[in-house]
Symmetry: none
Subunit: 401 residues, 2 copies
């Protein structure tokens, strides 16, 4: 029996409320100059105070050494096995802009790019064209039909878009056309499995047509496609946990992930304060809240140690917006580490804090990677966070007589 | 290969003796007034002394967040996967009152209940009738035979009883008749799997007969059945570990669990001193002793923090009854935590102490949840306790050449 089946059998509704605060890219690494991580550098008195009263630890999102993408990162936090339930990039992007995918649809993430006269990729992002330009170009490609397959193109930010292939007997077992480097030509799409031969052919035809349509555009004269995928069939959060969940997330992908697992979606502005205000506004109507804060990750991705420190301090300063609500269970963690000195997601376990009346506090006094090494949670798997949150909210009955 | 198969392949007999002392409901939570748990409040110098000389840690019985029942709790301590080897409620209740179940028997837990003239459940416990009344009513239902299946009814406390179906080709894949709520009629028993169609029919006939027999009784004019189950076929402790085990447990369910895994059963009085005396009396004849002390759990279940503290102090004071025997390996742990402030089993990991010549002592000086966080065992699974006990008793040969 897997954990989700087990939890499904013992979960129950209760009046208690759970807030899962995900600080994207939370964990970091020491600045070689100071020997202190972003969390150790930041002045974060409210987080330290919560650490003193709560139970702390470190969580592996997938497994030691494995760096998670945002999809697996969040699925693991929601209790799903992040390897079994992996979601393709195309689907992730599609659901992030509210595209209603049907079961047979294949979605792909696209980039407009620049190729030179020999067809060699000069810029994988076409100089990061404006979002408006992107929308304009998407209209040129939208609505094509090839062998009975309809192709819809939806603009994202800057050079990014989503392609959705619908109709016929499509399969997503395809290689990518984006070589992830410049100086070579876009790759031909190939079927990884025989069932996808037909789909590969259609996608390659589409790419050829797109090249033809875009040939006089500059700098966006070509497209790259990757992350071909179909929508997975996951049991939802209400089904597994008997929760009435709400997501407060301002970036599309996270809203899409939340929708995929059956959460309601709230609106909010682009600051921690605004997201916490949305939490307050919606607090009565739900018993589980996934609150996603993006900006620590963005600073880490930009290799901006100081800005990541500042973001953490801003979040800390706004935290009263959550604690004033006195949630029965407050979980603070990340979907992965994003150390500024690495400039990207990393494999390092993420700090986890659980604060509740029944959490069995430990001796940790400070919210940091190093302090959490001695936390009472020890080193756990991210998929164990939801069962712990549920237990602390008295939402799980005992297993066995 | 699962752990049990691995252990089976490398276990051997040795003169060394292992005592597994299970303090039921051992772990707790801090009293909000003092910030100290039951163990931290109690004066337990002998346990502290053992902690100083032994190796300590915390064990998850099932998994983080999952609260174990007594059945899974003990099976995990004996080394069995507590989810795979889950024992149904009917069987657990039956073995708890010394009913000798045969392999094909199906056991169910029953309640006498009250239905109104329309057949709607008014009270699921028939006003908690007396144990004497229950015994009287059980006699009315006992000994029926339907299509060659003999049905025995055994009274438990108050409104509770056990029903055992024997004969023919019975299966336990059945739904329950107890809807776990009042205001609706008892549910029809249904087969979850085709092999149980015949059994469902017999059980429904039995329930109809019982209703007829009880129709003039008040308030116990109907029955509810749940937890249909067969005795699981587990490899026994002698088979896995090549041990000659003895259980010293005074409450029926724990004796039943011990018998199920092939232990001999000793008799003892209802105090730690008497159970430890029984250990001494039987010490020569066995090489493994499961000693079960119930009362810390009972105090926790009663939300009586002070009494749980007192029970822990009483156990500590009596502990010389074990240590004077100088067991080669002494393990002290619990089958689950029962924090007094929760008044029930909980998901919190249980303290584990292993004391032996070869245990590699750590820096822990105190027997408590918090002190054990820094113990040398770290955070383990309860199923890992038996292999560790066996190793410390030099009863496992090396794996592989």
């Amino acid at each position: 029996m897997n954990t989700i089946e087990l939890i499904k059998g013992i979960s129950r509704t209760s009046p208690e409320k759970i807030v899962l605060l995900v600080i994207d890219g939370l964990g970091g690494l020491p600045d070689p100059q100071t020997g202190k991580s972003e969390l150790e550098t930041a002045r974060i008195p409210h987080l330290d105070e919560l650490a003193s009263r709560g139970i702390c630890g470190l969580a592996d999102i997938i497994a030691p050494g494995i760096t998670p993408g945002s999809g697996p990162g969040h699925l693991a936090l929601f209790g799903y096995d992040p390897v079994d339930c992996n979601i393709g990039r195309g689907v992730l992007e599609a659901i992030g802009i509210d595209i209603e995918l049907k079961p047979g649809d294949v979605a792909a993430r696209g980039n407009f790019c620049t190729i030179d006269k020999n067809g060699i990729i000069a810029d994988r992002r076409a100089g990061r064209i404006s979002t408006e330009k992107c929308a304009e170009l998407c209209k040129l490609l939208d609505g094509l039909s090839i062998n009975g397959v309809d192709i819809k193109i939806y603009p994202l930010k800057e050079h990014r878009f989503v392609a959705v292939f619908r109709g016929g007997n499509l399969a997503a077992e395809l290689t990518e056309s984006d070589p992830s480097q410049t100086g070579i030509a876009p790759l031909e799409i190939k079927a990884v499995h025989a069932i996808a031969w037909g789909t590969a052919n259609i996608v390659n035809q589409f790419i050829a047509k797109a090249r033809e349509i875009l040939k006089d555009q500059q700098p966006a004269n070509m497209i790259l496609l990757r992350g071909f995928s179909k929508k997975p069939q996951l049991p939802t959060i209400p089904e597994i946990y008997k929760l009435n969940p709400l997501a407060i997330a301002v970036y599309p992908m996270y809203r899409g992930l939340a929708r995929l697992v059956g959460m309601g979606i709230a609106s909010a502005g682009m600051t921690p304060e605004s997201e916490f205000q949305s939490l307050k506004d919606n607090y009565k109507e739900h018993d589980f809240f996934f609150v996603h804060l993006k900006w620590a990750d963005t600073a880490g991705e930009d290799k901006d140690f100081a800005r990541k420190v500042k973001v953490l301090e801003q979040i800390d300063a706004a935290l009263l917006g959550i604690t004033a609500l006195k949630p029965d269970v407050l979980v603070i963690t990340g979907d992965h580490s994003t150390p500024a000195i690495l400039g990207g997601h990393s494999w390092h376990p993420v700090p986890v804090l659980i604060s509740s009346r029944y959490c069995r506090p430990d001796n940790v006094k400070e919210f940091s990677e190093k302090a959490f090494l001695n936390g009472g949670l020890g080193r756990i798997k991210a998929t164990q966070i939801m069962p712990l949150a549920m237990a602390n909210a008295l939402k799980l009955t005992k297993f066995g007589a």
